[in-house]
Amino acid sequence: MRELALHFLDLLRNSVEAGARIVELDVAEETASGLLRFELRDDGRGMDETTLARATDPFFTSRTTRRVGMGLALMRACCERCGGELSVASQPGQGTVVTGHLLVSHLDCPPLGDMGAVAQSMACEADAVEFVYRHRVDRKVFSLDTRRIKAKLGMHTLGAAEVLSWIREHVNEELRRLHRGRRTASGG
């Protein structure tokens, strides 16, 4: 994947396909260490031990009719290539937690990329799945919660194109604000 954002989108799609009602994504960048840490939590149907053990195997999918694919395997490979790691904790009925980190200064590390488009894609599902996204750069934090936006709009869905376009630009502007004033290898 050309951007970390595309990896995140891929994992978030797994959560949606796993029937999650709430998906939370936390991303934290530390300038001093050059580390980017992330944690994705969902309340989807989860995986049993056997499935979990094979979840990051690129040649495994739990789907019978195309449900979960190579996303975890690709992201794990990306983390390991960039001096980091990825782990998955899950139980049937208990949801799934994906935790990982990587070095953004690593030559092989893709840029952060268009996180606004990721939020846009998740917001498009907001009539069924709530999305909470927090992004920290050192001490500065940005957060987005689809429940908050829906309340602000007085709507049960965020599916209107104008709203989704606003969300993408809003997220990308806020992330630029977080990155302003510091030199970073993470792009975005």
Partner: protein, 124 residues
């Protein structure tokens, strides 16, 4: 600056658009957002679609996402259903093709045949 005030201003327009969608029913566009789709540029197709819909004020068009449909070599794959017409599946949908689909298929009812890879026998 994308302020929260701007979001507030969108409120009435978005509500009106959704009311039209509920009443009249509009086109529905489904983007395959599996790993293969994402890797091939499905997200870029989606942002182009939403951008085009927002610019043209076509908020009554429903945008949905699905997983891999088994047409990985044709990704990005997008399905377009317009009222009263068979659903059309498109392959290799770059942002440019996506914008053409909006202008030619959704607005003018003309299938962009060079990118169409299949047509459902009945509308849904």
């Amino acid at each position: 600056m994308k302020t929260r005030e701007e979001l507030q201003a969108l409120r009435e327009r978005a509500r009106a658009a959704l009311a039209v969608r509920d009443q009249e029913g509009g086109a529905r566009v489904v983007i395959a957002m599996g790993t293969c789709g994402i890797g091939a540029g499905a997200r870029e197709a989606m942002t182009a679609l939403l951008d085009e819909l927002a610019q043209r004020g076509l908020s009554h068009v429903t945008v949905a996402q699905t997983g891999c449909k088994g047409l990985c070599d044709q990704e990005p794959v997008v399905e377009v259903c317009t009222p009263g017409a068979p659903a059309v599946t498109y392959g290799h949908v770059t942002p440019h093709v996506m914008r053409r689909i909006v202008a030619e298929h959704i607005v003018n009812g003309q299938v962009v045949s060079e990118y169409a890879i299949g047509t459902a026998s009945e509308a849904n």
